[in-house]
Symmetry: C2
C-alpha cells in the first residue's frame, strides 16, 4: 500500500476539487476516486440551461475530463458504487457497472457523496421506486437529457417547488414554449430566502410569463399508459381541489444529503441531516473528511448548522479537505456566508447571510431602498432593490438581499462587510464608484445601509 | 441677525448638499447660498453625455431647482459673486449680475467654491483670458451648450488629456461622428490611475475608434479669424513636430481648486493646493467649513493629502459640513477611499485606493487575473480583469483596479475590504455569489486576491 493513500467517494465539484488539491499538495500521494455515474466532475448548476439551449452542448458542462484526471495521476473509477466500508479494517467494497466487486484499502477518505432529490409524498409519483414517463427530478446529466426529450412547445409543464432551482427550470421550459405552472406549498415563492415583500415583487414579475399556485400541494398524479397526464392539487388551508394538465412534471423540492457511507464510518450526523464537519473539512472520525452537499456547516452569523447546497461552498470545503488530507494546512472561515444568486425571466436575485426565518428570529432592524443603476437624469437606468438586516443591539450587519440589476455583485459588497463583521455605521460611510452611465452618486447598497443605520440610531437614542 | 446664520459659497453638489443637510439638522437656521452661475445644483459628471445626446435634455442635470431651495427656505442667490470676505468683522461683500453690491454678516461659512479648469501653457490658447472659437474646457452647463454648437460630423476634434474626463469626452465626440485625436503628455493613458499593462490593454481597445498620441505636448495653436484650425504638437523626448487639423479643441487637463476666498479667510492651504479640512469638514479657521473640489483630504491608505475631484466625496463632505455647521454631529471616515469609475467605448474601468504612483511607492505585492463573467461552459461571458495591490509586510489590501464587465460593482467589493482594513488572507476566503448566467464559482475578484495571497505567503516563507 502506498503512503498517503487517499480515497474520494464522489466526483462532483466537491470530490473532483478535493482530488486536485490533494494532488497539488502531495505530488506522490495515491489518490483514487469512485464515482457512481458515468461522468467526471461537471457543473450541476448549468443543467437547466442545457434544457433551454443557452448552453448548446451538455458535455461542455464537464469541467475536468477523464483524461485530465489521468494526467494528474488521479485514479478515477466511473460507474462504480461503493457498497460498504469496513471502518475497522479500513477496507472499501466497490462494484462496477458489470457488477464486478473489488476491495480497496485506505488511509484517508473524503466523502463527497452529494445529495439526492427529495421525493415528496405524492400518490402515484413512483412505482417500485421508478417515476412514470414525464416525471423527473433534475440532478444529473442523464436527468437533463431525459427532460429535453420530453420538452414540447405548447404542452403543459408543472414545476413543484418555487426555490431557485424550480424557478430556473420554469424559465428554461417557458423559453422552450411550454405552458408552465409552479406549485409551491408555502405562501410565497423563494420562502426560505426572502421576506414576503420581496417575494411578492418577484412574483408579480414572473406572473407575466408563468402561472404560480402558492400554498398548494400536489396530492396525486394521473398516469395513463405509464405517461403522466394530470395532477391533482389541493389548497393547503381551504383544501379546495384543482385538476391541472401536466405533460411534464419537474420535482424541485430540495434534496437530502447522502449519508449512508458516513453512517457506516460512524461520522456524526448533524441536526440538519448532513455530516458534521469543522473548518478543516474533518468529520468526527479521524482521517475521514467530508465536503459539499452531503455535509452541514455552521452559518457565519448565527453559528447554527445549515445544509450545504451551494457549489461555491463545496469547492471551498474541497480545497480544505484536499490540502489537509494530503498533509497540508488549510482552514476555512468559521461558517458559511451563504452568498448566492440566480437569474430568471430577466430578474437577478442575490442574497448573503442566514435564511429569512433565521434572520427574523434575530429581530433585526431593516433598511430597504429601491433605486436605479443610473442617476435620474441619465436615461436607461435599471431598477435595483437592496435590503439589509442589522443587529438591533450591536448594529452589525447580519445579511442582505438584492433584486435587480447587478444584484449579485452588489451582494458581494455586503458579503465583504459580513466577512469583516462590519458595523452599519462603518458600512454606511462606504463610497461606491460613481459615474453617470454606471452608477448614481449614492448607490442603493449604501442608501439601504443609511436607512438601517438611521433607524438603529433612533432606536438607541429613543 | 438670525441665530445660526450659515452662508454657503457655491451651489454645486457640495454647496447644495451642505445646505440641505444644514436645513435637515436645524429647521430654523438662516441658510444662504451665493452661486456665481445662473444654475442651481446640477451634475457636472453628466455634462459630456449631453454632448453625445445620451442625456437628451441638459436641464435634466439640475438636481435641485431654485423652487426646491425656496421650499426648503434656503436663500439661494444665483448669478452672484462673492468679491471679498472680511474675516475680522464676519462680513461678506457680494455683487450680482447687475453689479449691485451687498453686504452680508455671517456666523458660519461653508466654502464650496469648486475648482477651475487648468489651462496648459499653449501658445495662442487664450487672448486676454478668452479662448478663440473652437477651444473649450468642459466644466459648466454653458461650456457643454457651447461645445454642442461646434460639434460637426466629419470634422476634427482634439482632446488634450487622457484622464477619465478626456476619454469620456472623446467617446461622446466620436459618437457624434467627429474624428477624434487625444493628446496626452505622459507615456500612457490614465497615467495617474493605472499601471502600464492595464493602460495598454485599454488603449488597444480605444484605438479601434480614435487616434491616441502619447508623450506629446500641444505647443501652439493656429487661429484664423478667431477660429482654431490646427494644432502644433511636439513629442516630449524626440521633439519631433506634427501639425494636426483641429476644428474643436477640448482641454481635459485637470483642475485647480478655487481658494481665493479661503485665503482671505486665512484657511490653511495644503500641499496639493486645496483647502485643508478634517473629517468634520472643518478648515483651520473656526466656523469655516469647506467641501468638494476646493479642498484636499487624506487618502484612506497612505494618510497623505490628495485633491478631491469626485462628486461622491464632495457629497459626503457636504453632509458632514451641513450637519456640523447646523449644530449636529457628523464625522467622515479618516480618509478617502478614492473609489471611482468611468465607462467609454463599451469598456468599464474602476479603481479604489491611492493613485498608481502612490501605490508603487509602497512596493506592493500584486495579484492580477483576467476571467469571465460566466463559467466557461456558458456562452456569452464577458471579460473582466482585476488587479489587487497588497502590503508586502502586513498583507493588508491597499487598492484594486478592474477593467471590464461590472468593474464598478467589483471595485465596491474591494472598497469594502479597504474600509475594513482587511487582510488578503481573509479576503481570499470571500464566497461570492455564483450562478451560471451571472458569475463563475470563483469570481475574478477572489482569484486575483488568491494570486496576491499566494505570492505573499511565498515571500513570507521564502
Amino acid at each position: 500500500m502506498t503512503k498517503n493513500n487517499i480515497i474520494i467517494i464522489g466526483c462532483g465539484a466537491g470530490g473532483g476539487t478535493a482530488a486536485q488539491f490533494a494532488r497539488k499538495t502531495d505530488r506522490k500521494a495515491s489518490i483514487t476516486i469512485f464515482e457512481q455515474t458515468s461522468f467526471p466532475q461537471y457543473s450541476k448548476c448549468g443543467l437547466p440551461y442545457t434544457i433551454s439551449g443557452d448552453i448548446p452542448e451538455i458535455m461542455d458542462l464537464i469541467e475536468f475530463s477523464k483524461e485530465w484526471f489521468e494526467k494528474a495521476r488521479i485514479d478515477l473509477h466511473l460507474n462504480t458504487t461503493v457498497d460498504h466500508i469496513d471502518s475497522e479494517k479500513n477496507i472499501l467494497y466497490v462494484s462496477n457497472e458489470n457488477n464486478t466487486k473489488q476491495e480497496y484499502e485506505f488511509e484517508t477518505i473524503i466523502l463527497a457523496t452529494g445529495a439526492s432529490p427529495f421525493i415528496p409524498p405524492i400518490k402515484n409519483i413512483q412505482k417500485n421506486g421508478v417515476f412514470p414517463n414525464g416525471v423527473f427530478s433534475l440532478r444529473t446529466i442523464n436527468d437533463a437529457q431525459n427532460i429535453s426529450k420530453q420538452v414540447k412547445k405548447g404542452k403543459h409543464a408543472l414545476v413543484i417547488g418555487a426555490g431557485f432551482i424550480g424557478l430556473e427550470i420554469a424559465e428554461c421550459l417557458h423559453k422552450m414554449g411550454m405552458n408552465v405552472t409552479i406549485i409551491e406549498a408555502m405562501q410565497t415563492i423563494l420562502p426560505q430566502l426572502l421576506d414576503s415583500d420581496l417575494s411578492n415583487q418577484i412574483q408579480k414579475h414572473l406572473e407575466q410569463y408563468i402561472t404560480i399556485k402558492l400554498h398548494h400541494f400536489v396530492k396525486d398524479i394521473q398516469v395513463t399508459n405509464n405517461q403522466v397526464t394530470h395532477v391533482y392539487v389541493e389548497h393547503a388551508e381551504t383544501h379546495e381541489k384543482l385538476t391541472l394538465p401536466a405533460d411534464l412534471i419537474i420535482l424541485a423540492t430540495g434534496t437530502r444529503p447522502n449519508i449512508r457511507l458516513a453512517k457506516e464510518l460512524k461520522c456524526t450526523i448533524g441536526s440538519s441531516g448532513g455530516i458534521v464537519v469543522n473548518n478543516k473539512s474533518e468529520t468526527s472520525q479521524k482521517n475521514v473528511y467530508a465536503v459539499g452537499d452531503c455535509t452541514e456547516f455552521i452559518d457565519f452569523i448565527t453559528k447554527k448548522p445549515v445544509p450545504i447546497g451551494l457549489g461555491s461552498i463545496a469547492v471551498r470545503q474541497a480545497i480544505a479537505a484536499g490540502v489537509n488530507a494530503a498533509g497540508g494546512q488549510y482552514e476555512l472561515q468559521n461558517g458559511v456566508l451563504q452568498t448566492c444568486t440566480s437569474e430568471f425571466f430577466g430578474l437577478e436575485i442575490a442574497s448573503v447571510g442566514p435564511s429569512i426565518s433565521q434572520l427574523e428570529e434575530l429581530k433585526p432592524i431593516v433598511g430597504k431602498h429601491t433605486g436605479s443603476s443610473r442617476p435620474e437624469y441619465f436615461p436607461g437606468g435599471k431598477s435595483i432593490t437592496c435590503k439589509t438586516y442589522i443587529d438591533s443591539s450591536t448594529g452589525s450587519i447580519l445579511g442582505a438581499r438584492a433584486i435587480g440589476t447587478n444584484a449579485a455583485q452588489r451582494i458581494n459588497t455586503y458579503a465583504t462587510a459580513l466577512l469583516a463583521n462590519m458595523n452599519i455605521e462603518t458600512f454606511r460611510t462606504l463610497r461606491t464608484a460613481y459615474a453617470p452611465p454606471i452608477a448614481p452618486t449614492l448607490d442603493t447598497v449604501t442608501i439601504a445601509a443609511d436607512i438601517a443605520a438611521t433607524k438603529w440610531q433612533r432606536k438607541r437614542s429613543g
